[in-house]
Amino acid sequence: MNPVIEAVVAALILVGAFFLLVGALGLARLPNMMSRLHGPTKATTLGIGSLLIASIVYFTATRGSFSVHELLITLFLFLTAPVSAQMLAKAHLLRSREEQSRVTPTGRPADWATLAKGTHDAS
């Protein structure tokens, strides 16, 4: 294999692993739930992303044909990770009075959806 490509792959692998580790570190050491939520979303993006690019480059180089299916993993993660994060945030928000006291007002008559009362009774 071309040493340049090899180096690129190795670098991408290391970058990916680094961000995964940082994400986990954030998860482990940040002081509250909402902050910890930031950790994994980083791991998802640059961590997995770098690894997948490494995989694309590696297989394209070794097989001689363009390997792109790894991109689909990224596609799915981009589609799903924000949902997971928001659902977790909402669950935490609902369960923690302390957290509720920290949120900023909506600036509108309606409250935040998680905390709103009677949203669907009105329908």
Binding site: L79, T80, Q86, L94, A113, G118, H120, S123
Partner: protein, 949 residues
Amino acid sequence: MTLLLVVLVPFFGALLPPLVIRSGRNTCAMATGAVTLLALALLMSHAPAVFLGEVPKAEIPWVPAIGLSFSVFADGLGFFFAAMILTIGLLVIIYARYYLSREDPMGRFFTYLLLFQGAMVGVVLSDNVIALLVFWEMTSLTSFLLIGFWRKRADARQGARMALVVTGGGGLALIAGLLLVAEAAGSYQLSEILVRGDIVRASPLYLPALLLVLLGAFTKSAQFPFHFWLPHAMAAPTPVSAYLHSATMVKAGVFLLARLWPVLAGTDVWFLIVAPVGLATMLIGAVIALFKDDLKALLAFSTVSHLGLMTMLLGFGTPMAAVAAVFHIVNHATFKAALFMSAGIVDHETGTRDIRRLGGLVWLMPVTGTLALLASASMAGVPLFNGFLSKEMMLEEAAHTAYLGLDFLFPVLATVAALFSVAYSARFAIGTFLGKARHDYPHQPHDPPVGMWLPVAVLVVPVIAIGILPGVVAGPLVALTAGAVIGGPLPEYHLALWHGITPALVMSLAAFAGAALLLLGFGRADALRLRLPRPDAKAMFETASAGLVVASRRAVAAVHDGSLPRYAGVILATLVAVGGYGFWSATHAAGTRPLLPVSLPAATAFLALLLASGMVLLRHGDRLTALILTGVVGVIVALAFLQFSAPDLALTQISVDVVTTILMLLALNLLPKTTPPEESRAVRWRDGLLAGLAGLGVAALAYGVMTRDGTSISDYYLAESKPGGGGTNVVNVILVDFRGYDTFAEIIVLGIAALAIYALLDPALKGAAVRRIKAMLPHEEAMDAHPLLLVMATRVLLPLSLVVGTYIFLRGHNEPGGGFIAGLVVAIALIMQYIASGYGWAAERMRVDAQSYIGAGVAIAGLTGVAAFLFGRPFLTSTFGYLTWPVVGKFEVASAMAFDLGVFLTVVGVMVLSLAQLSRVARRIDPAPHNPEPMDVRLEPAASRAREG
């Protein structure tokens, strides 16, 4: 063949009474009588041959494998007994016609009676020991029905149960005994066994066989100490008592002793057991009889006493004693049946059977009274009546018998028994029929209709005839019967009224004298008896029964306490013990397969498994946490599958875990969220220890296997997958082809699960469950049921998932994937629609309902398999080929993929249906109309306009 009919006619005839009862009671009785008469006539047709010394036989093979054949023979003994049973049966039927009241179901009564009669005849005519056992137990069963005929009376029920348990139980012992006798003799035919007495007595099986047979005989014939059931069986209608408890059934035990006399008798053991049992029974029966105030009870214990007499005689083991026994059997049958019927008439006419309230009846009902007095004279052993003759023979035999060197024991006790016998007979006769006529009866007693007293009269005739002319009247019969019992040359004997001054005559006279004294001092004797302890057999039996029931109940309840942990614990302990035994009882050597080096990710995954499992162990009380941790375990298991080259398994595990988690969450929503800590520390340690031991065992087994090499049929799959199955993913080809039958059954398991879930949850939507669901107040919850971001993401995900599902399905035959996994992926995408946009909104948009997916899936899979029939191939035979299309190029078509499509559809249907059903229950909590919109966030009208624009 007609001999077989003697047995069969009563059985088939038993169908008759209920059929003709509509035509009236007379018809019914006549039909029953006719049946008996027919049987008797058939029997009598053999009489000439029997008296000529022939032994008529007949046989229908039944179960050769166990030596059972329905075979009968009529030697002297069997013939005599059969004749007696049928004759007395006839009389009892006539008597019963008048005895039974209009309220009594006569049809049923006669059915039972004929069944009993058939069984009894079967016992005495059987040539096959197993057939004999069959009939023997049938007499117990039918007597149960007869004793309990007045089923609304507690004493009848108790008496019937007691009789059944004692005689039926004895019958069970007899089964064992006779099987051993037959084995020792090498034949199941009595006629053969009877001539092999020497072989049997020499066999090591003799003693157990003898003891078991005696147990059967003694219980049936109410011998001490099994005599207690008989009086309580008197709760039966009098015809039953007369028939069963004096004339026939109780004699079955004595019959059996006589029947097997050539085989079993003549040894010391026989004498040492049988003779004293008979003696004791004779004595105790007589003593109790004297103090009974109830006529039937008195007669019942008298019967016990006389059965003892017969048993004792047979127990002596000498031919002469056997002759005496046979003679007494004949005599007792006549006078005792007559007395029972008389007692019945008295009861019928006066409304009481209590001697203390009776007296002088001979003046009020002269015919009955006279007949009864004659019969009781015979029972007392007064000369000129047949009872005297056989009693004299008994005393004569007793006088010459020494037991264990005690030469006075038998003579003295036999005399005492005779004394009591005279005394109770006298008390019966005098107390009931003699003395002043009383006028305090509820109704003025009269002689009954002729139909009731005629049977008594018929029985009294031989009582007197034999008594006066024994040699002429009874001689041939006794000779015939005794000959059969002895099974060899008869001893020198002479049936006559006068033998000179013999020891027996002296003993007899002593008995009469003593009896006179005893009766004079009856009041004092009775007072003395009342001061002695009087065990009440019925109370004891009932107490013992209740105790048995309670003890059983406690024993069962103690272990079957409904506790799943305990059940599981015992099962696991058994598994560990038996598994451990299996391992240690066979040879084992450590494997030599080189181990794979441990990798860091594997070690980390193991650590994760350890942590998650350990935490579940400690924190399972918090159910949600336990569920999250289970999810972690699932991820690790999937990774393990990947690590060890099982991508298909990993894919399946990943997707199944998702569905399982949702399922559990749906349930947890309605279940308590925590498990209360209940068990003590000791229990937890015990469980932990047991579980740990099992875990250790399983781990050791797994390790043992993984460290050794082995060969397997899998090489064939690897070789044939492509050429034979048309696919390169061997796992998939195994699933859809090599072992497609497993898969077919497996999707049916899923289908059944869905059906069962549906059936289970349907009723949860009504009744107590609904009240409970409604009582669950909605807990603190976000009002945002369908968050916008979630809804939008799932909208994109659904089509993407379908593409991925198609992809996984299509390539499953060649690469990791396949119908299962594709089905799971699509199902999850559909379930996501339910989760995100709400059940109502999503279900409306589902084009096909889940049940149809299941049905269609199973049908496609099944029909793909059946299609092979058309080509003369077995179920599920597959085929594949390659098609070439323009542009698209060459691609493979395999029938196995059609099968896989069935799998796919079923999986989708089952997953969606199960979860949807489960969620349906929870949706009952909140009966408010559901938001028809897919999102709860209410966008401004501008948004709608923008969308339309």
